[in-house]
Symmetry: C2
Subunit: 377 residues, 2 copies
C-alpha cells in the first residue's frame, strides 16, 4: 500500500534494554539473571526464583525464609474475589477469569505506591502469590474440593487443586515447572506488561494485561494442543501413520520447533526427564513412549528434508500436568502463574528507567472528506 518500510510486528526491532533473561538459541541455553535453568531446576524453588528475578541476586537463607513467609501470607482471597470466581460462567475461560481477578485485586493495595516508581516487593508479591490460589479456587468451585494455603508454591497448588497433600516428588515437580516457565525475555505478553507499566499503571493492571495477551491462541496454549494431539494419535502404534497424514496435510505438529532455539529447548530436556520419572511413578509408561515415538518420527522426517527440528517445552509439559491430575484448560493459567514472576521483574525494570511506549502508526486511510448528512446517504 505504501513505499515506506517498517518491521511488521516490530520483528527485529529493539524495544528496550533488559538484564533479566538471556536466551542462547544456537546452543539451547536459557539463563535467568545469569543462572542456567538447569541449575535452577535442580537447586531452586519457585519462591527463590521469584526472589532472584525481582532482586537480581540469589537470597540468603534468612532472606528466603522471610520472602517465602510474606509470599505465603499473600495467598488469601477476599470474599468478593471468591464470589467472582464462584459466579464466573463455566462457558468462560479461566484465563479471562485470571485477568479479571488480578486487576480487581488492585483495589487491595495502597495506590500511591502502586502508581509510582517506588513500587516495592511487598506489592508485587501479592500477584505472584495469589495466581495459583485463584486457579485452584476456580477448580475447587468446579469440583467442590476444600483448600488450605500452605506448603511451597507448587506443592500447595497441587494440594489446593486436589484437596489432599501431594507426594514430595509431585510437589517438587510442579514447583520446577513453575521455575522453568518463570521468564523468557520479550514476547507478546511480557512486552504488553512493559507497555502498560510504562504508563505508570499498577503492577496488577500490567500483569492483568499480560494475562490477556498470553490468553491468545498465537501465544499460550501450545501444551494444551500438544495433549489434544496425543489424544488424537491414541497409541504408539499409530504414530507413523498419523505423522504421514498430518505432514501430508501440512498440519502443524504441536510442541515441535521454536522460533529462538535452534538446538533442543533446554526446558524440554529438564521436563522430559521429569516426565520419564513421573510415568514410572504413575505406571503410565505408554504416554512417555508415545511422545518419544512422535519426536523420533518427526525428527527423522525433518532431517530427510535437511531441517533439524527439536521438541520445545510444550511438547512434554502438558503430559506432566496431565499425569499430575491437572485439567487441560488450567495449563495456560499455570503458565501465567509461573510467568507472573518474570512479568513483575520486567515491570520493575521498566519503571527504573521509564519511557512511555508510543510508537507511530503509518496512516494509509482516507484523506479528509466532508461529512455526509443522513438524508444524503
Amino acid at each position: 500500500m505504501t513505499d515506506i518500510e517498517y518491521a511488521k510486528g516490530l520483528e527485529g526491532v529493539i524495544a528496550a534494554e533488559s538484564e533479566i533473561c538471556q536466551i542462547d538459541g544456537a546452543n539451547g541455553k536459557l539463563y535467568y539473571r545469569g543462572y542456567s535453568i538447569e541449575d535452577l531446576a535442580v537447586h531452586s524453588s519457585f519462591e527463590e526464583t521469584t526472589y532472584l528475578l525481582l532482586n537480581e541476586r540469589l537470597p540468603t537463607k534468612t532472606e528466603l525464609t522471610e520472602f517465602s513467609k510474606r509470599m505465603r501470607r499473600c495467598r488469601d482471597l477476599s470474599p468478593a474475589v471468591q464470589n467472582m470466581i464462584r459466579d464466573f460462567p463455566r462457558t468462560g475461560s479461566p484465563m479471562e477469569l485470571l485477568q479479571s481477578v488480578i486487576s480487581y485485586l488492585s483495589s487491595s493495595v495502597e495506590h500511591q505506591i502502586q502508581h509510582s516508581d517506588k513500587c516495592n516487593c511487598r506489592q508485587t508479591l501479592h500477584q505472584v502469590a495469589q495466581m495459583t490460589t485463584v486457579i485452584a479456587t476456580y477448580q475447587r468451585f468446579r469440583e467442590g474440593k476444600s483448600y488450605r494455603p500452605d506448603l511451597s508454591q507448587g506443592a500447595n497448588f497441587l494440594y489446593q487443586l486436589r484437596g489432599e497433600e501431594p507426594s514430595a516428588e509431585e510437589g517438587r515437580m510442579l514447583d520446577t515447572c513453575l521455575v522453568l516457565h518463570a521468564e523468557h525475555g520479550f514476547n507478546a505478553s511480557t512486552f504488553t506488561s512493559r507497555v502498560v507499566a510504562s504508563t505508570f499503571s499498577t503492577c496488577y493492571c500490567s500483569i492483568s494485561a499480560a494475562i490477556g495477551a498470553l490468553a491468545g491462541a498465537l501465544h499460550g496454549g501450545a501444551n494444551e494442543r500438544a495433549m489434544d494431539m496425543v489424544d488424537e494419535i491414541g497409541s504408539k502404534e499409530n504414530v507413523d501413520r498419523w505423522l504421514d497424514k498430518a505432514l501430508g496435510e501440512h498440519r502443524k505438529v504441536m510442541g515441535m520447533g521454536h522460533r529462538v532455539y535452534k538446538a533442543k529447548d533446554p526446558r524440554a530436556i529438564v521436563i522430559e526427564k521429569m516426565l520419564e520419572e513421573l510415568t514410572e511413578i504413575k505406571g503410565r509408561p505408554e504416554l512417555y513412549e508415545l511422545l518419544k515415538e512422535v519426536e523420533k518420527g518427526f525428527r527423522a522426517r525433518m532431517e530427510e528434508k535437511g531441517k533439524p527440528i527439536y521438541p520445545n517445552v510444550d511438547f512434554f509439559s502438558g503430559a506432566v500436568y496431565t499425569l499430575l491430575g491437572i485439567e487441560r484448560d488450567l495449563f495456560t493459567p499455570i503458565f501465567a502463574a509461573a510467568r507472573s514472576a518474570g512479568w513483575l521483574a520486567h515491570i520493575l525494570e521498566q519503571r527504573k528507567d521509564n519511557r512511555l511506549f508510543r510508537p507511530k502508526a503509518l496512516f494509509v486511510g482516507p484523506e479528509p472528506r466532508p461529512y455526509v448528512l443522513m438524508e444524503d446517504r
Copy 2:
C-alpha cells in the same frame, strides 16, 4: 551501557499501518476515517461514530437504527457483574474495576468467534455498550441511585448516573464528549490493545488490557488533574500569582500543550464552546472565566519565551464533566468508555492483516554464572 542504538519507548518507530485516524498536528486537525471531528461533533452521535470507526463508513438511517438497537440491547449487566461492582472496595479505582469487569464479560460470548479473526460487530458492540453501564452502576452502588438503560449513549449515561433524565442539551453534550474522545491514533493504550489482539486474544481481553494502560498516571487522568489545579487556584483573581509561583517552581500546568498538536487541539476548541454554553445554563460563569484567565496568562508567559503553547482537550473537559455533576474519579473511566470504540476499530484492523508483536530486548545483564548453593551465600 551499550553502543547499540535503539528508539526508547519506540519513539518514532512505525509499528503498524492504520486507516482509522489521521492527526494533522501542524494545523490542529483530527479526522476519523477522513471525517473531521468538528463535523462529527456537530452532526454525529457516539453510536454513529462507533459505527463509522468499526465499519469504515457512515451508516444509512436503517443501518444506524439497527446498530443502535443492538448496542442498547447489550447494556444489561449480569447479576455476577453487578455483585463484582457492588463488592469492589471503595479504596480501589474505578479504572481497575472497569478493566476487571471487561475481561470478566469475556465469558458471555462465543469463544470460537472471539478467538479467531472472524470476530464481527455483534461481539464488539458488547464492550462499547457496557462500559458506561459499568461506570454508572459503580456510581449507583456508591450513592444508591436507581438506573434504567435507554436513551442515547451519552444521555443514558447521565440518566444512569443521576437517576433522573438529563436535559436534551446535557445529553447531547456528553454524547459529543464521547465522540471527541473516541479515537486518537496510536498511544500507549491503543498500542496495547493491538499488541494483545495480535495474539488472537478476545476483544474483551484486548480492551481490558488497554484500560489498564489508560489507567496509568502518564496516560489518562490529565483532566482530573486540571480540575485539581482549578481547585487549588480557587478564583480568577489568584490566577496570575498562582501561575508565577507554579512556573517558578517548574510545575506542570495541566491541560496545556500537546505532543502532537502544534496548533490548538481541535477537540479543545469544540469543548471550550460547549463549556461556555454550559456555564451559562448552570449559572457558573466563574469556572469558565477562571480557565480562560489561566489560558491567557499561561500563553502570554510562554510567548515571551517564544513558545506558543495552547490548551489541549483535557483543559476544558474536566470542567464540562464537573458541571454535568460527574465525580472526578469517573473522568478517566469515561475516557475509556469513549475510546473503547477506537480500540475496537484498531483490534479489528489488527486482525485483518495480523502479525504477532514480538520486538527484541537488548540484553545488558549478567553473563552466565554458576549457581551458588545456599550454604555458600
